[in-house]
């Protein structure tokens, strides 16, 4: 005869049958029927249709039947509120019953009927029951207040139940006190209103402490939790609370133990720093925590999560108990994985044992577990310096096993060890490099790349290694991409000569082809750094990294302090403050203060632990720490950089112009951008000087009108449409208001719109480079033409071209990249300060003229088609920055002595003999750089012919 018989009637008319039985006259049959109903209800069958019939059974003396009906009522009252009112009278009557059990039961059940209409009827009986002579009824009523508050908080406050509840805190019966505490805690947890808060003063605390010893284990948990919210007014009070709570550590209920631990952990903070009292208390904490670890696995899990917090706060507590954290193979996996939490307690004394144990685990089957073991070995190495060597050799042993995930994990931790103990264990790098191919996890790859980048100078084939990673750049995870970018930049700074290509490649990959803003931004930062100030780049990128400490997998201190206040709660399991995960309730911040704590906890801080990308983790420190020794190295580097320039001119200074025209707008098609990095520190001759002679320039502009100061050759087709999939580019060069421009006309001859235009120059003889991004109205629809001007800078990378004035250009759009070349007219490069000496002081000119050997003089007949007079010629030429220093008339011929200067600092001196009324003139040019002479001659002809 078991209850399973209640489930056997699964015929069609079940409900009907039950109805009949419920209305039966026979008590016994009635009860059986109610039991059947309850059984159906418990398995989730809908028996709500029987509501009136069941309620009819309520008025009975039979306690069991009453209870069963109550059970039913609680379940279904919500769905049948009108019917539930029928039951109210019986409840009220039962609350007056002589049997306290019945009174309590009625109060209890009433609270569980979650129907608003009923709650009004509930108030009077509840008020009576709160003052009942029998403590059993009182304690039931206390809980009922919490139930009622859940249904209708306003009602509870209005009716003054909260005050009555607070009175119960000083009840003579400890069980009543415990329930009152529990009810009040729940109410204050869910209610934002100040009236609902549980005020605690010394008196209530004393009462709670008194009740603590005598109430049930559950009551103890409630009271301890309430106690932990109390802020003692001085350290003596804190001390006395701790003393009275300490015996709870010996309770057999794990919940009581952990709640007591919470009170004590908080108490210790109030007592103050390392007094004798705290030390003894710490000793007392260890055994109960250890005991928790030998209970059921679920308890172990929660205990371990909490111990994690506790040992972070006070690592000494468990330092003698390391062995209890050793893992048995049949522990559930969630327990195994948590056992690592104890490693903050590793010390020199126990490290040998711990290491042996960890090595044992590293050969286990479970992958996650093995990983954690390997990681823990690394932690130990970082934590205990004396053991580092052993840890490293253990790790090497593990790498030799060639088990893929072990190797990967080992490499990740070795990276950390390198950071902790620089220049100590680098001898093992070669072993690590052997395992390069087997790495397929982002963490491990990133770590390995970091190692290669960091120790590039010790790894002969570092560039090859990194290059091999670069091949699949786009398939890598962001973490690896970032690390690769940084590593290659490091490598470049260490070995600039061999790795230009590589760094160029990675920068372009990072900035152009990536959609990841982090990667792009980091790429730009490096790029800008390298191009404007390689010295700074070196300081930043190769800065001494702050040593990492063993705290990397720790919580942030403020968060930890906050979590300490939540020991034994869900927050301690999640390691997040409740505000981060409790939702849908007005959580009152009330338990979150420890005495010494800073303002804000940072909920996200947990995620920031053990960053695999060290650079990312400490950018600020890196930038702050400057390494003096690198400054001297920098000189060498600059020497290297300069020697690569073919430019024959002397380097004037190392002024690092913050060159706004350096903004490449993200294009690096030919690698010109990268070379501009090298060219970066070369002197910027053009721009600053142009400002100096602004006055003269202005006069010219006024004299000539607004359009163009210099001769502008007509646009030529540089890139015919058939060669560029329908894009036709024609262009010319001009100088306007002292700025050099490339004027382009883009025509879309294709059928589809074009967009995303970008332009890039190859290295050229005079270092011309785009000073800003190409601004093309985008998209360029089919048939449309756009005129574009591109300001040019003259401090780009320099390489002598053949022909000298050749400029190779790459232009990109959404379709493809196209290449073309054009000739730069040399007058574009004449500078505004080309007047040697001044009109009044010709000595400089004369001296220079004489200084240049006669072999450097080239004569040529040039045409003067318009037969201009010397004045006219002089004026015209000056508009193109060929300045007349002196004018003489010798034998009826006018002699003009002129000077001009190129952007790269080359001076050209000229003597122009003008035969009146002759279609030709004789031009003698004298310069140290003979290469430019044909071009200058050509320029003269062009300018004079086109005036």
């Amino acid at each position: 005869m078991t209850d399973s018989k209640y489930f056997t009637t699964t015929k069609k008319g079940e409900i009907f049958e039950l109805k009949g039985e419920l209305n039966s006259d026979k008590k016994e049959k009635k009860k059986e029927a109610v039991k059947k109903v309850i059984a159906s209800m418990t398995v989730g069958k809908d028996v709500s249709a029987l509501f009136p019939d069941v309620v009819n059974c309520m008025q009975t003396d039979n306690l069991e039947l009453k209870k069963l009906v109550y059970l039913y009522l609680m379940n279904y009252a919500k769905s049948q509120p009108d019917m539930a009112i029928m039951a109210v009278n019986t409840f009220v009557k039962d609350c007056e019953d002589t049997n306290p059990l019945i009174r309590a039961l009625a109060v209890r059940t009433m609270g569980c009927i979650r129907v608003d209409k009923i709650t009004e009827y509930l108030c009077e009986p509840l008020r009576k029951c709160l003052k009942d002579e029998d403590p059993y009824v009182r304690k039931t009523a206390a809980v009922c207040v919490a139930k009622l508050h859940d249904i209708n908080a306003q009602l509870v406050e209005d009716q003054g139940f909260l005050d009555q509840l607070r009175e119960l805190l000083s009840d003579s019966n400890p069980m009543v006190v415990a329930n009152a505490v529990a009810a009040l805690s729940e109410i204050s947890d869910t209610s934002p209103s100040p009236a609902a808060q549980m005020e605690m003063n010394q008196q209530t605390i004393n009462k709670l402490l008194a009740a603590l010893n005598e109430c049930t284990e559950w009551g103890q948990i409630f009271i301890l939790d309430a106690l932990s919210n109390y802020v003692p007014k001085d350290d003596r009070e804190a001390q006395s609370i701790c003393e009275r709570v300490t015996p709870r550590l010996a309770h057999s209920n794990a919940g009581v133990v952990l709640s007591a631990v919470k009170v004590l952990m908080k108490g210790m903070e109030y007592v103050g720093m390392e007094t004798e009292f705290v030390t003894t208390l710490q000793k007392k904490l260890a055994p109960p925590l250890v005991t928790l670890l030998s209970s059921e696995p679920e308890v172990q899990y929660v205990a371990l999560r909490n111990i994690n917090l506790i040992v972070q706060k006070r690592p000494d507590i468990l330092k003698h108990e390391m062995k209890v954290f050793f893992v048995k193979y049949n522990d559930p996996i969630y327990v195994k994985l948590e056992n690592w939490t104890s490693y903050p307690s590793a010390t020199q004394e126990n490290i040998a044992q711990v290491l042996a144990e960890l090595k044992e685990y590293a050969t286990e089957v479970d992958v996650d577990f093995v990983r954690k073991s390997v990681r823990a070995i690394g932690r130990c190495a970082i934590k205990v310096e004396q053991a580092a060597e052993r840890c490293v050799s253990t790790l090497l042993d593990l790498i030799q096993t060639k088990v893929n995930y072990v190797v990967q994990e080992a490499i990740v931790v070795i990276k950390d060890i390198f950071r902790k103990y620089p220049n100590k264990y680098e001898s093992i790098i070669s072993t690590l490099c052997e395992n390069l191919e087997s790495l397929d996890e982002p963490d491990a790859r990133a770590s390995m790349i970091w190692i290669v980048g960091e120790y590039a100078e010790r790894i002969d084939n570092a560039d090859e290694l990194l290059e091999s990673f670069l091949e699949g750049f786009h398939d890598e995870s962001t973490q690896v991409q970032l690390q690769l970018l940084t590593a290659i930049v490091k490598l470049f700074l260490k070995k600039p000569t061999e790795t230009q290509e590589l760094v160029q490649q990675v920068l372009s990959l990072a900035t152009q082809d990536s959609d990841n803003p982090d990667l792009r931004d980091r790429g730009y930062i490096y790029w800008r750094l390298l191009s404007t100030d390689p010295a700074a780049a070196k300081e930043v990128v190769l800065a001494e990294k702050p040593l990492i400490s063993s705290e990397t997998d720790r919580l942030e201190p403020t968060l930890l302090d906050e979590l300490i206040c939540y020991i034994a709660s869900l927050a301690s399991v999640y390691h997040k403050p409740p505000s981060a995960f409790v939702e849908g309730q007005a959580l009152v911040v009330r338990r979150t203060q420890l005495p010494v704590r800073s303002a804000s906890g940072e909920p996200g801080a947990t995620g920031a632990t053990e960053s695999p990308v060290p650079q990312q983790a400490q950018p600020v420190q890196q930038q702050q720490s400057v390494i003096p020794s690198h400054d001297t190295a920098m000189g060498d580097l600059l020497g290297d950089l300069l020697s690569m320039d073919l430019n024959p001119q002397p380097q004037q200074q190392m002024s690092m112009t913050p060159a706004p025209q350096q903004d490449m707008g993200g294009m690096d098609l030919l690698g010109g951008g990268l070379d501009s990095l090298l060219g970066g520190p070369s002197p910027v001759a053009g721009m600053p000087a142009s400002q100096a002679s602004m006055g003269g320039g202005l006069g010219d502009i006024l004299g000539l009108g607004i359009s163009s100061t210099t001769y502008v050759p007509p646009k030529q087709v540089w890139l015919p449409a058939p060669k560029a999939k329908g894009l036709e580019v024609s262009g010319t060069f001009s100088i306007r208001q002292n700025v050099r421009y490339m004027d382009l006309t883009l025509k879309n001859n294709a059928m589809a719109p074009m967009g995303d235009f970008a332009i890039q120059f190859n290295k050229n003889s005079f270092g011309l480079s785009p000073a800003s991004a190409l601004q093309v109205p985008s998209p360029l629809s089919p048939g449309q033409t756009a005129d574009v001007t591109l300001p040019l800078g003259t401090n780009g990378p320099v390489q002598k071209m053949d022909p000298l004035m050749n400029l190779q250009v790459a232009m990109k759009n959404n379709i493809d990249v196209f290449y073309f070349s054009c000739l730069i007219p040399i007058h574009l490069l004449f500078t505004e300060d080309g007047q040697m000496g001044s009109a009044s002081d010709r000595k400089v000119f004369l001296a220079t003229w004489k200084d240049i050997p006669d072999s450097n003089e080239v004569q040529k007949e040039i045409a003067n088609p318009n037969q201009l007079d010397p004045k006219g010629i002089s004026d015209k030429l000056q508009q193109s920055f060929i300045f007349t220093i002196a004018q003489r008339n010798v034998d009826g011929r006018d002699m003009l002595y002129q000077s001009l200067k190129l952007t790269n600092g080359i001076w050209v001196l000229a003597e122009l003999k003008i035969q009146p009324r002759s279609p030709t003139m004789t031009l003698s040019l004298k310069t140290r750089a003979l290469d430019v002479i044909p071009q200058v001659q050509q320029a003269y002809e062009l300018i004079i012919a086109n005036m």
Binding site: F7, N75, P135, A250, S259, T291, P297, E298, V302, Q353
Partner: protein, 416 residues
């Protein structure tokens, strides 16, 4: 606090639900099932699961998941302890807490749950009190109930619930007054390949069966109480007297209960009573297995009920072994070798040896399996704890007293 409870069997059926506040839809268990699917074995499901609106805290016992649903921040250990108490109560009432027992006693289970928790707050969890409120089922009572129409539900107030000794009911009467104490110690140990102890500690309990009339006040003293430095007591023990005099003074609950549990830490030397000499080796296609067990520090007591289990690697196909005593079985599905040794005769050490065959083509496993050992030693507490005397105050009669000692293996592992 605890909002609802779902019981889920190994097939994934929710066969019982109980709500103490408003009803929470069963669908909340989907989060649990999700987590369950990730786990390799039933034991591996993380006990605390967070879902967007609820927190699921569960224990796994008797092949049932007891899943408690909470809506607010609660102490998880409180929930876990409570769930264990629920299962303990079921076991106490029905003999076992399994699914069949629960289904057979549906109404009692429901009544019990109702009685144990009110609005999520524990109400009566002491077995003594519960049994006063709800009578445990037994055949005789069921027959009587059916005939007389009386119920198994008491209609008196559980007296103990209000007294200062809530664990004891009033008016207990026995014709034979007796008090038995069992000192049971379990050794948890990890022994490494070389036979040296990596880790060992002792979990001890004193379980009592006290059937004394009236309100007896007992005092139990030990020869060597210093061993007990890490103890947890039944609420009945007066902590003050333990602190000052190192004696256990208490008014006992009626019937069976656990008086104290204690822990002898890893810092103390633990005498290991048995040793295992394993010799397991693998090569291509097979391997050798040779294990010998022997007594070590047993203080002359007999080691009995020795069972050796070894979870072999997955590639092991079969094992062909010969024991010098006892019987062995190899479960080829679970790959678990079980050798029931029985008693160890120190003159003739039990040995089990033979061949291992591996799946053809698979490489031999890299690591050897760990061996776990079970054993029992009667009349010895391995920690050396000894009860000195038991005194009774408050009642006039002379009770019959007895103490038994038992040492057994807890989680005793030998690495090979």
């Amino acid at each position: 606090m605890i909002h609802s409870l779902f019981m889920i069997n190994s097939a994934g059926d929710i066969f019982m639900e109980k709500h103490w506040k408003s009803v929470i839809s069963r669908s909340v268990c989907d989060y649990f099932f999700e987590e369950q699917q990730k786990a390799n074995s039933p034991e591996d499901v993380n006990p605390v699961i967070s879902t967007p609106h609820h927190y699921l805290i569960h224990i796994y016992r008797e092949n049932i998941y007891f899943v408690a649903v909470c809506t607010t921040e609660v102490p998880p250990l409180f929930v876990i302890e409570f769930l264990h108490r629920v299962v303990d109560t079921f076991t106490d009432y029905f003999g076992d807490g399994g699914e069949t027992a629960i289904k057979d006693n549906y109404v009692i289970v429901y009544e019990l749950l109702e009685e144990m928790l009110d609005n999520g707050f524990p109400l009566a969890t002491e077995s003594n009190i519960l049994k006063e409120l709800i009578k445990p089922p037994n055949i005789l009572r069921t027959v009587v109930n059916t005939v007389t129409g009386s119920s198994n539900l008491s209609d008196t107030l559980p007296t103990g619930q209000l007294s200062n000794v809530p664990w004891r009911r009033a008016g207990v009467k026995y014709t034979n007054n007796e008090a038995y104490f069992d000192v049971i110690e379990e050794i948890d140990a990890i022994i490494d390949k070389q036979g040296s102890t990596v880790f060992a500690d002792i979990q001890g309990v004193i379980d009592c069966c006290v059937k004394l009339s009236g309100m007896p006040d007992l005092t139990l003293s030990f020869m060597n109480p210093r061993i007990l430095d890490d103890v947890s007591f039944h609420p009945c023990v007066r902590f003050k007297r333990w602190e000052s005099e190192r004696v256990l003074s208490f008014v006992p609950p009626d019937g069976n209960f656990r008086l104290i549990s204690y822990h002898v830490g890893s810092q103390n030397m633990v005498a290991i009573p048995v040793y295992v000499k394993p010799n397991i080796s693998f090569r291509e296609g097979g391997g050798r297995f040779d294990v010998t067990v022997g007594p070590k520090q047993t203080m002359g007591k007999l080691v009995e009920s020795v069972v050796i289990t070894c979870a072999m690697p997955k590639v092991v196909l079969n094992m062909n072994l010969t024991p010098t005593q006892g019987t062995y079985t190899f479960d080829p599905v679970a790959k678990v070798l079980t050798w029931d040794v029985g008693k160890i005769n120190p003159q003739k050490l039990p040995n089990l040896r033979g061949n291992i065959s591996l799946q053809s083509g698979s490489p031999p496993p890299e690591s050897n399996p760990a061996i776990s050992v079970q054993f029992k030693i009667q009349q010895m507490a391995v920690s050396g704890l000894k009860v000195n005397r038991l005194d009774m105050y408050g009642e006039k009669y002379k009770p019959f007293k007895g103490v038994k000692y038992l040492t057994k293996a807890g989680n005793f592992q030998v690495r090979t």
